[in-house]
């Protein structure tokens, strides 16, 4: 059965993943739009930077974030100057790390679905008196709906599944930074295999359901998700 510590970890994970997903959609949407439209020579570099977490060991990303956000790091100095203290081992720190870690899972499906829309509907909208922002919300967003759905699901699920970055940046503080994956690690370390089984089982079920939704409900829009 799940202990209250387990439930706390689940709740925290849900909170982190939800907030991180919102933040990623907020920043990832304009970024993906820019990537899909630009002819700038920066495109390649930005693409590579966004995709880095796909190949980088999470511990590497976590390590750099820990250093940068720490009291002597650039970000840490800035947040301290703002009177916010430093981010490592806090909930906001965890969200920041999650956002950076899962961003490619949001940006890439959005990028793909924006690119798939093509020039034509945008031109049609322009000839029908619709300005760029208007067109984005009245044409692009509805046409890219499967992309947004995929991006949200993948971003959320990938944040739930993170471990290395969390451990580096967040540590293991109950109800503050101890998410499910860390909690499972704790159970195993303490040889509490029954508890580990329960929690792992829930996570497995969750992950499988998410992917099932992606591959069945959204299969009519194959272009929108990057897993194929």
């Amino acid at each position: 059965m799940l202990t209250s510590a387990d439930l706390g970890a689940l709740l925290l994970t849900f909170k982190v993943a939800s907030i991180a997903t919102l933040v990623m959609l907020l920043f990832g949407t304009p970024l993906a739009w820019w990537l899909a439209r630009t002819r700038s020579s920066w495109k390649g570099i930005i693409n590579a930077v966004v995709a880095l977490p796909l190949v980088l060991p999470p511990t590497v990303l976590g390590f750099y974030l820990l250093v940068l956000m720490g009291p002597t790091g650039a970000i840490g100095k800035f947040t301290a100057w703002l009177g916010l203290g430093t981010l490592p081992f806090t909930f906001p720190g965890l969200v920041v790390a999650s956002v950076l870690y899962s961003l490619p899972f949001v940006v890439q499906p959005l990028h793909a679905s924006f690119a798939a829309i093509g020039e034509q509907p945008l031109e049609a909208a322009a000839t029908l008196r619709s300005g760029p922002l208007d067109t984005f919300f009245s044409v692009v967003v509805p046409l890219a709906k499967p992309g947004f759905l995929t991006a949200s699901i993948l971003g959320f699920a990938h944040t739930v599944g993170e471990f290395g970055v969390v451990l580096m940046v967040g540590g293991n503080i109950p109800d503050k930074t101890r998410v499910v994956s860390v909690q499972i690690y704790n159970h195993v370390e303490a040889l509490e295999y029954t508890e580990a089984h329960w929690l792992s089982g829930w996570l497995l079920l969750f992950s499988f359901s998410v992917l099932l939704v992606l591959y069945t409900v959204l299969k009519t829009h194959p272009v929108a998700h990057p897993l194929k």
Binding site: T127, L128, L143
Partner: protein, 360 residues
């Protein structure tokens, strides 16, 4: 009368556009040319979908682009209607919502063209609730035309609206375009590579080649220009505007008048007074120096030679003036020499066959 002033220069390396056009602000102006001639690029520059680095565009006295002053009105601020080659309807909206998309975004539809009018004109009232994917190609294109018209634009731009349709669908839409022409007072710029569409729709013709305008002017005048390859082609023809004057039922003929004369046609089923277009192929026109007294050909008209050019394979192209209309004749070079045809000569043309185009 409104006029359209369009001057554009752009250079993509492998393609350059360099035109300076003054077009009438009424009727249908066809931009004709083969693929790669720059006709679509020109239309897109007029719409603002493409920006020519050097450009000046004035419509209805309003400047839409002036590179000298660094003025460039973005497309969505130009009061135009645009019909794409593919209908380009929004796939996530019903026909109804597609039609209202632009309408919702203009302040006040003050003009004569209302959505209902456009819907009626194009016969799409029964399609309102459908999604675009459930329409045929022809229906889609009709919705697209209505969507553009509903905005009551100052100018309607059409980029090969029939090119992606098969023959049957083309025949379905052409009458709508003719009606449009007749009922609306909106100038239309119409891009096509089809001579048939030129003949059926154009009032003014602009011929484009390699990004330049070879000729521009009233239809029959431009069709018959000897310095333009069109006049040399086997299918060369001139189109005249005419009005039905009389039916000769016993002979199964219809007499039509044009500025400067009259013609007999195979019976046309339309009322007296109806305007129509007749097309005369250059190969169906022969020339006589004296009035033929006994001939089976009904349409013999006095004419003046205004131009002579050599063509391929021993052929000559003769340009003639008949009343107010220009006419082309393809004859053999030998005949031209034997008759000693000269510019300015008064002759007679015998027209063997005439085809009637759309009733308008």
């Amino acid at each position: 009368m409104t006029t359209i002033l369009a001057r554009f220069q752009l250079d993509y390396g492998d393609f350059a556009l360099d035109v300076d056009l003054k077009l009438p602000g009424t009727g249908i102006t066809v931009l004709f040319g083969h693929s790669g001639s720059g006709k679509t690029t020109l239309l897109r520059c007029i719409a603002g979908l493409q920006r020519a680095p050097q450009g000046f565009l004035e419509i209805n006295g309003n400047t839409w682009q002036d590179s000298e002053r660094d003025l460039f009105l973005p497309t969505y601020k130009r009061p135009l209607g645009y019909v794409f080659q593919e209908a380009n309807l929004f796939p996530h909206l019903t026909v109804q919502d597609n039609l209202h998309y632009g309408l919702k975004r203009i302040k006040q539809n003050s003009g004569t063209v209302k959505l209902e009018h456009a819907v009626e004109l194009l016969g799409i009232g029964h399609l309102m609730e459908r999604m675009p994917e459930r329409l045929s190609g022809g229906e889609r294109q009709r919705v697209a035309i209505a969507r553009a018209l509903a905005l009551n634009p100052e100018i309607l731009l059409m980029d090969e609206p029939l090119a992606s349709l098969d023959f049957k669908r083309k025949q379905e839409i052409l009458p709508f375009l003719s009606r449009l022409h007749q009922q609306l007072d909106i100038p239309v710029l119409y891009v096509t590579h089809s001579q048939q569409e030129v003949a059926q729709l154009a009032d003014t013709l602009v011929i484009l080649e390699d990004g330049r305008a070879l000729a521009s002017g009233p239809l029959s005048e431009t069709q018959s220009r000897l310095d333009v390859p069109l006049a040399q082609e086997r299918e060369a023809a001139t189109v005249w505007q005419a009005t039905i004057a009389e039916h000769e039922a016993e002979y199964h003929l219809t007499r039509v008048t044009f500025t400067g004369g009259s013609l007999s046609l195979p019976a046309v089923d339309a009322e007296i007074g109806t305007a129509l277009r007749v097309q005369i192929y250059a190969r169906d026109v022969s020339i006589a120096v004296e009035a033929p007294t006994a001939t089976s050909i009904l349409n013999v008209l006095p004419a003046t030679i205004t131009g002579i050019a050599d063509s391929r394979d021993g052929q000559s192209v003769i340009r003639l003036q008949v009343g107010n209309q220009a006419l082309l004749a393809h004859i053999t070079r030998k005949s031209a020499l034997m008759l000693d045809l000269q510019i300015g000569m008064a002759v007679y043309v015998q027209i063997k066959g005439i085809s009637t185009l759309t009733h308008q």
